[in-house]
């Protein structure tokens, strides 16, 4: 479980997070949704320690991450996998080498075992045969899957996905959503997905947090989401014609 307590973060005069508190349940896909600039990406970066919050604390299974020393944080970070918006694969490495990279850095296993584990991860994301290709030689959807394979290579307890479907066509997006859902259940991870894609939310979410102007304005599930909520949430969720029709049928 990941818990955020009263996280605040400002950049100069701009208050991005104004006291965010949230709880992300284990074994569930926890979505964080909100408009662009609402603070959801900053919230995620504060959670994983890429940005230091001004006040508040982050707890990973009861461990106060914010108060940890650099060495302790390093240990926790090895339990975290992250899928970045642009995949963040290393261009100079092949697909296989990208997945092997965290294992080579930290596992201490023999090279043969590391390669075997990396191939298993690539198999899990259905990328058999792409091992020797470079990131630039595969499609955006495949890059996302390589990113997922790399994120799960170390058997993480926590998985963070930042806009996993950005730039993907709807069919490929569903493949990624289903994959995230499946591996969350399979590995029993606490998964946090930052997105503003309502298709993904309806497809894969178990729990939803709506961020608006630096605060969690609403928390619920995809079923309660359709029942409505604060005006800001409704404006966001039912912005598209498709969602309006979904609501009408509901």
């Amino acid at each position: 479980m990941i818990e955020l307590h009263d996280i605040q973060k400002s950049f100069g005069e701009h208050h991005v997070l104004k006291g965010v508190s949230a709880r992300f349940e284990p074994g569930k896909v926890n979505f964080v949704i909100g408009r662009s600039g609402s603070g959801k990406s900053v919230m995620t970066k504060c959670t994983v320690g890429l940005i230091e919050p001004d006040t508040g604390s982050v707890h990973f299974d009861g461990r106060n991450f914010t108060a940890m020393s650099g060495k302790e944080r390093k240990a926790v970070r090895q339990e975290i996998g992250m899928l970045f918006q642009g995949s963040a694969l290393f261009d100079s490495m092949t697909v296989l080498e990208n997945v092997m990279f965290p294992l080579r850095m930290f596992s201490g296993d023999a090279l043969g075992q590391i390669e075997q584990r990396a191939r298993e991860c690539l198999h899990r994301v259905e990328l058999d045969g792409a091992e020797q290709r470079y990131p630039a030689e595969v499609s955006g959807g495949m890059q996302k899957r390589v990113g997922i394979a790399r994120a799960i290579a170390m058997n993480p307890k926590y998985l963070f996905c930042d806009e996993p479907n950005s730039g993907l066509d709807p069919q490929t997006a569903i493949v990624i959503d289903n994959l995230i859902q499946d591996i969350t259940a399979e590995f029993g991870m606490t998964t946090v997905v930052v997105s503003h894609d309502m298709n993904s939310v309806m497809q894969a979410s178990d729990s939803i947090h709506f961020v608006h102007e630096g605060r969690i304005l609403w928390h619920g599930t995809r079923d309660t989401l359709l029942a409505g909520g604060p005006q800001e949430l409704e404006d966001f969720v039912f912005a598209s014609e498709l969602m309006k029709r979904v609501r009408g049928r509901g």
Binding site: V48, Q78, G81, L89, R104, M105
Partner: protein, 245 residues
């Protein structure tokens, strides 16, 4: 007062950089890659510049030599110019342009492409992993490139001197040997080592803290080259004053 912020952040980055690497084998591999990128791949440009520099110094000196100035002055001047200033200063300046911009754009691209964040999330000290091999390679390989430059510059000076008939080989070699002080070479290599550090660390700083998109990476690359050259010039003055005065 913005420069105080940059100095502080530069020192902080160096503190992050000079830490024990997570994995020795991976670090050695990265170091070898950087030695090749900074050293081997720069041999061509270093050799080309050095040959022409030596030749031009020879011709310019010969142009001044007349009447009471002995011909062996040509060999002496070529040697002194190459050892004291042209090779140890001009070569790092050229490398700051070639290698420095490469380092800054590479790190800048990794920063905006979130690859640096990806390393941090994995629990890897990204500064140490990415920058330390570059600095060590720069410090280690630049003196060798400068020694190569000295040799080629003096050699080409001798060749041009003899080929154009401004000096005999015997006169050139005599001038080249006269009043030779080993300290000059030690001074040159010392400052070269410092310049290698400046070139790689300053370029890394600008690349590592790049933000935004492709335009910002380009700007970071330009800043890296400009500030590397400026700091090399300042360090050159300080070291020369300390060593020779």
């Amino acid at each position: 007062m913005r420069w105080i912020f940059h100095i502080g952040r530069y020192v902080h980055l160096l503190r992050l950089t000079f830490r024990m690497p997570e994995r020795g084998r991976m670090f050695r591999r990265a170091l070898m890659t950087e030695l090749e990128a900074i050293g081997t791949q720069s041999i061509g440009i270093v050799a080309l510049l050095s040959v022409f520099m030596g030749a031009v110094i020879c011709i310019q000196t010969a142009h001044q030599v007349s009447g009471w100035i002995p011909v062996y002055t040509i060999g002496f001047t070529v040697r002194q110019s190459m050892i004291l200033e042209f090779s140890p200063t001009l070569i790092p300046v050229i490398l700051a342009g070639k290698v420095g911009s490469n380092i800054a754009s590479q790190l800048g691209s990794m920063r905006v492409g979130e690859q640096v964040d990806a390393l941090e999330i994995m629990g890897i000290n990204s500064a140490g992993f990415l920058i330390l091999p570059k600095i060590l390679a720069g410090v280690a390989i630049t003196p060798f490139l400068v020694i190569l430059s000295m040799g080629l510059g003096i050699g080409s000076g001798a060749w041009v001197g003899v080929a154009t008939g401004v000096s005999s080989l015997a006169d050139f070699l005599y001038g080249m040997r006269i009043d030779f002080n080993q300290f000059d070479v030690a001074y040159a290599l010392t400052k070269t080592t410092v310049f290698g550090f400046i070139m790689t660390s300053v370029s890394s700083y600008h690349g590592y803290y790049a933000s935004g998109g492709a335009l910002e990476v380009g700007r970071a690359s330009t800043r890296a080259v400009v500030w590397s050259v400026v700091l090399i010039m300042v360090a050159n003055l300080v070291i020369t004053q300390l060593a020779l005065n």
